[in-house]
């Protein structure tokens, strides 16, 4: 579906994307990276808005640069706050659908259908200024799917959504994936993307650091030096157990809170073995988690691996 071959994009002296090579088959992909990592550049390359400085990009077998025909096979839901006070959601989506070349009446039908899919039928004739943040986000999504694209690209679609909105958005995207349609979801929050169970593309500093399933990404994290937080009823005793049986770099006990932060070189071994030893010693563990489970932690770990500072164990 999409292939990048040694693709580099430079903005004068700033690197947007650095020597990216990948081949994406139809399916769901989570494009993960911190802010400024090159996600938007990658999306713009796919949409043909910018030309790579080096290398090639092919989308559906075609060079996307200035390829109008291709754009009607793709739907983009950008990270924007659509706020056109005097225009209703229906008119706005109809207008944007007409820009794809559909006649007015057909575009209107398509817009109504798309707004129904995202659950906006009840408010589609109201001015957009009266919409909540979640409603606007759903309207932006409607304009992306109104022409029934083959590939849907979403840039931070969960921004500004309340928990209910997030659940609804996730449900819609799951349905989209189940229909065997392709999806690229750019985000900097791992658990939002994980719910769709896509293949993950981890990008940072314009480089594609890793790709794989969420499980594979988590296993990388678990196999690397990591900091673990444990909450239990006897932190001093548990700290003694940890230092006795595992390789521990640093340990910090907060007796009043009943927590221990352990930095270990082998988190996987500790995570699997320590609970059993604690149980044998009569210690009750109420919480066991990595303190660096954020995406940034994964990226810092991956960067360390790339620089050769650490090696994956296990």
């Amino acid at each position: 579906m999409i292939s990048f071959e040694h693709t580099t994009k430079l903005y004068k002296t700033v690197i947007g994307v650095n020597d990216v090579s990948l081949d994406l088959q139809p399916g769901a992909y989570g494009l993960l990276g911190p802010n400024g990592s090159g996600k938007t550049t990658l999306i713009n390359l796919i949409l043909g808005q910018i030309r790579p400085t080096l290398g090639t990009v092919r989308v559906f077998g075609q060079n996307p640069w200035n390829c109008n025909e291709l754009l009607n096979r793709i739907g983009l839901c950008p990270a924007i706050q659509a706020n056109y006070p005097f225009i209703s959601g229906l008119k706005w989506v109809t207008f944007l659908t007409r820009l794809r070349g559909f006649r007015s009446s057909i575009a209107n039908e398509m817009a109504e259908k798309a707004l129904a899919i995202v659950g906006m039928t009840h408010a589609m004739n109201r001015p957009m200024s009266s919409y909540s943040l979640g409603m606007r986000q759903r309207t932006v999504l409607a304009q992306a799917i109104s022409h029934e694209p083959e590939l849907l690209i979403l840039d931070e679609p969960f921004n500004g959504l309340d928990p209910k909105g997030r659940i609804e958005m996730t449900a819609f995207l799951k349905e989209w994936v189940q229909k065997k349609r392709s999806l690229i979801l750019a985000s900097h929050i791992l658990h939002e993307v994980e719910a769709l169970r896509p293949s993950l593309l981890l990008i940072s500093g314009g480089r594609l650091l890793a790709s794989g399933s969420p499980e594979q990404v988590r296993s990388i994290l678990a196999s690397c030096p990591n900091s673990i937080r444990i909450r239990c009823d006897n932190p001093n005793r548990l700290a003694a157990l940890a230092t006795e049986y595992y390789s521990v770099n640093k340990i910090q006990i907060d007796a009043s809170a009943g927590t221990i932060d352990i930095e270990t070189l082998n988190p996987l071994e500790m995570l699997t073995g320590l609970p059993a030893r604690a149980r044998s010693a009569g210690i009750t563990i109420t919480e066991l988690r990595s303190t660096e489970e954020s995406l940034q932690a994964i990226f810092s770990t991956l960067m360390k691996i790339h620089r050769g500072e650490v090696r994956i164990t296990g």
């Binding site: 938007t40 706050q81 944007l96 820009l99």
Partner: protein
């Protein structure tokens, strides 16, 4: 059992032509502009001056159609010879033309260029006079009432056109469709251009047709055939730089009110400065033997005002300003302003994807 393909199927129906797709942006923009009550009022107001100018054309044609004796009233003479008869007849025609010109001048006495009507009467030919008077009417119509309405309408409509897209980063939405940056720009430029056409080109053409309908015979068409072209030229001279400059202001900010302020400031302050230079020197130009150099001085300073610069080129197009060289600076200024505005505007609307 046949297995049906239920996978993705691309749209196979008809699509609109790529070349006219930008018009969708214009259509939506114009429809959106008309939703504003103030815009509707301004449009209505902008058509009112046509009544005054239409009446003037009506009066002019009616008087031109009258026999000379009726115009001159009790003026009479005793004929002595054929030669005297001929000379007296020509004199009568000339006096009649002056009477008509003075009648019209009284109606337009509030306009600074009303003397041009008296000059028109100095010609020996009624047909030439008709051309000059019609040109004057059309030039004044476009220069004063429509000029002011252009300022107001652009100030009402244009500021949010691009600034709203800048604020909401809507460029990404446009460019993820089969719309190029140039088409986006064309669509946006055509919004104020269409509305300005409605208050300049269309009523001016209406005024011209109104004049034709009141004409005594078809020869009037031959006398004035060039005026529609001059109207098109004069409206283009106004609309192109005005649309480009105002859209540039809109593209420079996320806040449409700043764009509106910049527009009124450029137009208003420039005109005030120009009037401050022009009015004190107006008397001197009339009285002073050195009037020509004062006129050159004030002409050069007219460049500070966009309104005055456009007006001078429009006057030249209608033949009220005879010397082409005197309007070259104004024309050059408008061309440079339009080109720079367009280039800058294009750069601004390309910037969001250039990062």
């Amino acid at each position: 059992m046949p297995i049906h393909d239920v996978g993705y199927r691309p749209w196979s129906g008809p699509l609109t032509n790529n070349l006219t797709r930008w018009w969708t942006i214009t259509e939506a923009g114009v429809a959106s502009a008309f939703k504003s009550r103030w815009v509707r009022r301004a449009m209505l107001l902008s058509w009112l001056p046509i009544l005054n100018f239409g009446f003037a054309v009506f009066m002019f044609e009616k008087m031109m159609d009258q026999p000379t004796n009726e115009i001159l009233g009790e003026f009479s003479y005793q004929s002595g010879s054929d030669a005297f008869e001929e000379v007296a007849g020509e004199l009568k025609d000339e006096v009649a033309r002056q009477v008509i010109a003075q009648e019209l001048q009284e109606q337009f006495a509030f306009l600074p260029e009303s003397n041009a009507l008296v000059d028109a009467a100095a010609t020996n030919d009624n047909r030439v006079m008709r051309h000059q008077v019609w040109s004057y009417m059309l030039a004044m119509f476009l220069r004063y009432p429509q000029g002011v309405m252009t300022l107001l309408l652009v100030g009402l409509i244009v500021p949010p056109l691009i600034s709203r897209d800048v604020r909401s980063r809507a460029f990404l939405l446009y460019y993820s469709r089969p719309i190029t940056r140039m088409e986006y720009l064309m669509g946006k430029i055509a919004i104020p251009a269409s509305l300005l056409f409605l208050i300049t080109l269309v009523p001016a053409m209406g005024l011209y047709l109104f004049g034709l309908m009141l004409s005594p015979d078809l020869t009037v068409i031959f006398d004035t055939w060039d005026l529609p072209f001059r109207i098109v030229g004069a409206t283009a001279v106004c609309i192109i730089p005005v649309c480009l400059l105002s859209l540039l202001f809109s593209s420079l900010t996320e806040e449409s009110r700043f764009a509106g302020f910049a527009w009124f400031a450029v137009w208003g302050l420039g005109t005030v400065v120009w009037l401050m230079i022009y009015i004190p020197n107006q008397g001197q130009m009339m009285a002073n033997s050195n009037g020509q150099s004062v006129a050159d001085f004030t002409s050069n300073w007219s460049l500070v005002s966009l309104y005055s610069t456009i007006g001078r080129v429009q006057f030249w197009l209608f033949g009220l300003e005879k010397d082409f060289m005197s309007i070259v600076p104004s024309l050059a200024m408008l061309v440079v302003m339009s080109v720079v505005s367009f280039a800058w505007l294009y750069r601004r609307i390309s910037a969001p994807v250039r990062i």
